[in-house]
């Protein structure tokens, strides 16, 4: 079913969610753009395209984020050491 917890399927799940998200963003952008074009911009096409672009960009950005999420350094990953070894930042094994 859904997302399996296997690590090899994480990527697939991420890509799936990316795509789904991108589609949604696209759709949403399109709709917004169309709406804007219809309502504000006198049925010009450029708001719709702009909206699609915005949607795609957002989707892309989300996807990027999702794909990089395991590598991001979070506060829980940082170990603080004493002054002997100053500012040694190490990643905690994830």
């Amino acid at each position: 079913m859904g997302s399996s917890k296997n690590s090899e399927d994480v990527l697939a799940n991420t890509v799936d969610s990316c795509v789904a998200d991108a589609l949604i963003k696209l759709g949403g952008g399109l709709i917004t753009g169309t709406l804007f074009s219809l309502l504000l911009f006198k049925r010009k096409s450029w708001p719709a395209v702009f909206g699609v672009g915005v949607g795609a960009g957002m989707g892309m950005s989300n996807c990027h984020y999702k794909l990089n999420m395991p590598y991001l350094v979070g506060a829980d990953m940082i170990k603080a050491f004493r002054r002997n070894n100053v500012n040694q930042i190490g990643k905690d094994s994830s």
Partner: protein, 734 residues
Amino acid sequence: MWKAPVRICSQSKVSLQNGRHIIRRNINSRKSNQISGNKFLTIAGTAVLATVGGSVALAKTSDGFRKFSEKNIPGSSFLYNLLLGPPVSHIPVFTPPVRSLEDGLLKKKLEREASKKTDDVVAVTPTDDLVESPKSSVDSTPLDVTEKPIDDEKNENPIKEDPVGLDNEVKLEENAEVVNDSGSDSSVTEVTNVQETAAVNLSEMSSAEFETLLKELHAKASEAVKQAVDAQDIAAASIKKHVDLVFKSLEKIYEPGQTQENVWEPVFVATQDKNEAVHVAESRAHEARLAVAQLKEAVAHGLKNDQSIQTPDLITFDESVARALYSLETAKARVDAAQSEAKVMDEYRELVDTARHNLQMELSAIRPDLSPNLKTEGTKLGEEEVNILMAHAYWKIITLQKELAKQQSREQQRLKGALDMQRKEDFSILESRLRVELERQYYELKAKYNQDISFHEKTLSDQFTQQLKLQAAAYTDHLNDSLKTQYLELKRTFEAERELDIAKLSALHHEDLAKLHGMGKGIQDAIHDRAEKDRISRQVRELWIAAQSMMDSLRSNATVHLPWNEQRRPLNLNGLNQALNNNDEFARAVLESIPQSAVSQGILPQGALKERFQNVERVCRRVALIDENGGSVLRYALSYLQSMMVVKVDARPPPKQDEEINLAELNTFDILARARYHLEKDDLEQALRYMNLLKGEPQNVATDWLQELRIHLETVQAVNAIISYAAVQAIESM
């Protein structure tokens, strides 16, 4: 609303009717059956009655059948008892045969005595015979057998005899006139009864019976004697009375106003009385003599058989026998005296009668017309007649005077002669009395002598028995003492010997036992060790088998029909645990080293891992370009493109032994290829080693798979360790 039920009812009626029809039909048929049934019943009833009646009749006649049927048929006894009465046995009762010999003798004796009695009753002088007969019966020995039983009954009288004898003498002196007219018949029957019931042989009796018989006899004899003496007294008295009456009547008859009947009636009465009394007296005397003779015989028998010690009364009985006889004799003497007086009286009467008769004859010769009775008024006599009468009278008187003178002259002579006779008689009487007295004294002395002897015998025998008892007691005591000492000595010696023997034997026995015990113990220990080893080896083998089976399951491809997802099985350590049995620390430690997730969540078997690797490899190839720093979408797309470009090499064989590999230079594809190769060779460890070299996103992707692989390998390692351990132990315990 009611149609349906009505219909039903009607239908049922119909059916009922039908049933009734049917029933009727049945009844009809039953009736016909019943008719024939009646016949059957009657026949059966008659048959039963016939059998019952026949069996009852048969039981009445045949006892055997009755018994048989009572035994086998339960109710028949009740029936028979009801109809026939209780079973009667027809066997004649057995009566012991009567002692014919004694009875015969007894009968003879009875007849003899009865005949004697009848003779005595007829004759008026029976006394001599009576005296002799019992004595003869006493002396006659052939009838001893019958005499003794008769005597037995007399022997019980002696105790009563003494006071009775005394009483009799006293009574005689008082001269009591007791009119006892009880008939002689009872006395006769008494005697016969006495004799008949005494048909018991003396010699067979025991001392107690003898004593009782003696007592009975004594009682009877004393009673008989008493009665005899009484009767004789009565007889004497009545004779006297009769004599007096006759005298009186003879005188009275000349008195005026006395008819003949008046005078002579009391005389007749007295005569009758006298006769009766004499009867009774004689019979009683006879009876008494018999009883005394019996008693005497029994006493003699007892003395002969030396039963005097046992029956101390025997001597007194003896004495009393003598006394009884004496009293009888005296009574008889009295009766004899009375009877002699009666004789005298008779003679006198006769004389008177004859004188009167003569006188009458003479008178009638002179005066035939005179009435015989001179005392009547008489007719007037004429002078001549008076003269004749007077002359006759004168003549008579002169003749009488002459006679008187003659008589007086002869009186002296006659008196002398009478006195002589009297003297002679007296002498004889004296002799007889003396004889009687001597006999009595003889008997008394004898009795006393016997008494003394018996007394002495008794005392001496008692003393003797006492001494004997003392001696016997002393002897037994001595014997007991000696026996006791002997017993103790023997016991001591034997016990000592026995103790020695026992000690020896027990020592030997103990030795053997110890040996055997040692051997047994050794054997037992060896066997236990062996058993222990065997047990351990078995356990170890079990462990090995369990571990081996686990390894097999881990390495198996049994569930390859399922996708690797579903091949996850939780590790079943039950077999291993059982096999371990908590004994083995090493194995336990090893088992505990198995990660808990293996037990709880499960392990993928080898096949599953391989299968999963394929997917992992695919994904790893697609993200091969992304390292630890992460990647953007573009990079992902590029790496995907790259993966499509790179040719998939199936399997790269490992480098040769001495060839070094620069692990840092390996890229994902290399790593994957090598891992794949080793996987296909079932070398999971090498695969794991290579897969650990992955870096970046491929590492992330393979993480889970690596985890599974590690768990698997850990388990495998543990199981291997256990297997080897079990193998080592098995070899050890062999």
